[in-house]
């Protein structure tokens, strides 16, 4: 990972690094340290009264049944989003890779929801599934199915999962398609000579060869579903009804910004931080391995 030939320079490299390091130190390390420090404090919202309490915030967070139920919500939500977003992306990618005419056009038409902000995606889905305004909300109620995501927790969860998955499919599609296109054609053709049907060919040959892509996508989708769906939740359900859609990152926001429990919220952030670090480590190891393959 290092090059042999390099330039000489005593001060130049430091000079080149200065802008980025300055920004990173001022706007990342200093605030991050403050957040970790905050997780060990009990403090009123205005910061007028502070008490150092070691890990009491962590104990309280981890023994809180609502925190554990938020873990459950997050897992269910993430699993639903990932399953939906990855399986449909894989299906579409396989179809687009099947030598179909106009695959490029399809690619463009499938890709663009990626560019939509999560909060805006929430607004779009709200407009479709609003119980009295939305076209589907009305239809479901007309069919007597009692659709009201403001009352039924599972409906709210389903809605944010759909909106999030909708926004995510394009991303996964691009990676699956790239993965499929990197599989040498000879491999699949050899299999069809052996008389394997398209489905068998996919299951026995293509899917295993695709597993690095799938694994990579799994990791980044987990991170995405954990953290970047905040905008969807905030614009659609605000965590309700009950705490049905209160994911971990949303709880950090609610406890810190709405309930003003800064210590508890910081402790939750630190816990999440550890989760990301672990996931990133997994991902990083995987990248290193791939680099060695090349």
């Amino acid at each position: 990972m290092h090059r042999r030939v390099v330039f000489e320079g005593k001060f130049l490299p430091y000079l080149l690094l200065t802008p980025q390091l300055a920004i990173v130190i001022v706007f990342f390390f200093w605030p991050a340290w403050q957040a970790i420090f905050q997780s060990l404090l009990r403090q009123d919202p205005f910061g007028l009264r502070t008490e150092f309490i070691w890990f009491e915030n962590f104990v309280q967070v981890l023994s809180n049944p609502f925190y554990l139920s938020s873990v459950r919500t997050t897992v269910v939500f993430s699993a639903a989003v990932i399953l939906l977003a990855m399986s449909s992306a894989l299906l579409l990618a396989v179809m687009a890779d099947s030598g179909v005419r106009g695959a490029g056009v399809y690619k463009t038409l499938l890709l663009w929801p990626y560019a939509i902000a999560p909060a805006v995606a929430g607004a779009l889905w709200l407009f479709m599934f609003h119980p009295t305004v939305g076209i589907f909300g009305r239809a479901l109620n007309a069919a007597g199915l009692g659709w009201d995501y403001m009352l039924h927790g599972w409906q709210a969860l389903l809605l944010i999962a759909l909106a999030s998955a909708w926004k995510r499919v394009g991303y996964n599609f691009i990676f699956f398609l790239a993965g499929l296109q990197s599989i040498p054609k000879e491999v699949t053709e050899a299999a069809s000579v052996d008389g394997a049907g398209p489905f068998q060919r996919f299951r026995k040959i293509i899917f295993p060869l695709l597993s690095p892509t799938t694994f990579f996508l799994l990791v980044v989708n987990v991170i995405w579903a954990f953290f970047e769906t905040f905008g969807v939740v905030h614009s659609l359900t605000k965590g309700g009804p009950g705490k049905a859609t209160e994911t971990l990152i949303y709880k950090v926001y609610v406890d810190g910004v709405v309930n003003l429990d800064l210590g508890g919220s910081s402790a939750q952030s630190v816990i999440l931080m550890l989760v990301v670090v672990a996931l990133t480590a997994v991902q990083f190891r995987y990248i290193e391995r791939r680099v060695h393959y090349q």
Binding site: D44, P45, F46, E51, T132, M150, V258
Partner: protein, 461 residues
Amino acid sequence: MTTRTKFFVGFVCFAVVAAAFASTPDVKAAQPTAPALVAQAGRVQVDFWHGLGRPLGGILEDIAAEFNASQTRYHVNATFKGSYPETMVAAIAAFRAGNAPHIVQMFEVGTATMMAAKGAVKPVHELMKEAGVPFDPSIYLPAIRGYYSTTDGRMVAMPFNSSTAVLWYNRDAFRKAGLDPAKPPKTWAETRAAAQRIRSTNAAACGFTFAWPTWTQFEQFSAIHDTPLATKANGFEGLDAEMATNSPLHVRHTQALLDMMKEGSFKYGGRDSAADALFPSGECAMIHASSGLRARVLRDAKFDWGVAYLPYYDDVKGAPKNSIIGGAAFWVMTSPRRTAEEYRAVAEFFKFIGRPEVVARWHMESGFLPITYPGITLVNALGYYAANPGADIPYKQLTRSLPSRNSKGLRLGNMPEIRVVLQEEMELVFQGQKSAKAAMDAGVRRANEILRRFEKVHTGQ
């Protein structure tokens, strides 16, 4: 090479568009600010963050503009900062960064949090005294004054947009159901009978609903029935107050709502203001909602409607008492570099918004309560109540008795969080997951934990 060319063409296009955007004389943005800047020169600037969306926020900003036009020394910059909780958070974050606005509008359930923040907040009585601006708290209605005063009666925040909960009912639906539109239900028994009748005659798709579940069905309900919501006079007498919402009366009421839901006479409309829409659309024939709903009902309801007092259980001793307020008040925040002249500017602004004509105008345009006696007198003199039957119901309900220990208001820490807890427990009952008693007990337990956390943060124990 072609890639590079394409890229540079693309980049240049971007740059051009960006430049065009940046240099477009932004008519809307420039017009209000540019002349204002000139006029502002030399004036004492007051930052005022509020949490009122359209259309109410517009009226409020008009009032600030009027104040600015009424004199030449001070200038109030009224800025919408999002919902009340968002405004609160922004103000707190700004305070911590040493950059608090001069005035922040805070919803009534944030009162305990603000009061506990000694040093961050300048009490209004102190502000007025130091600035030498004459100020008479006794012109404010007792239920409003009490909510924002210390136990020894000194006003801490400046009331402005206060509301209370009332019954809105659809007279057309009442007629269709064979009910007397001149006689809205007074008690809960009558409410239920009317709702059943509306459903059985199909005069409306839903008989009864309520908005702001905790506010209307716990806070107002407890005050009207002279029943404590929490011990220690609802928290006025100490941070060690405990919830009392699992009393037999509260359990009975929750059970009654569940029964009504099961028989189809009541529909749960969701949290906070979500149910508001069910009334003007004609879906629900009765709703317990804020008196502030008036502007919207006037605009949207395509039917004959009326306003009435909230119902009560007539077998409860002491009922009905006065209701309590909701809405928000203005708080003065401190900041390291704040000058006496700036406080003076705030005091002058407060004096301005306490004028009867401002109070009356705000009341008539927004539907919030007339908060002072001179204001009510003026509104009456203008003939507003004669022309708008029912518009006086909210303040009459609020003043129908002198506030008792249980109907003075609330002073509970982290009240927004407690509201959510009680809503959640109520929802669990409606979803059939818990009995009324179990849910109320759980609500008390959870809310007490929240109260203890607040106590710990503010007293260290």
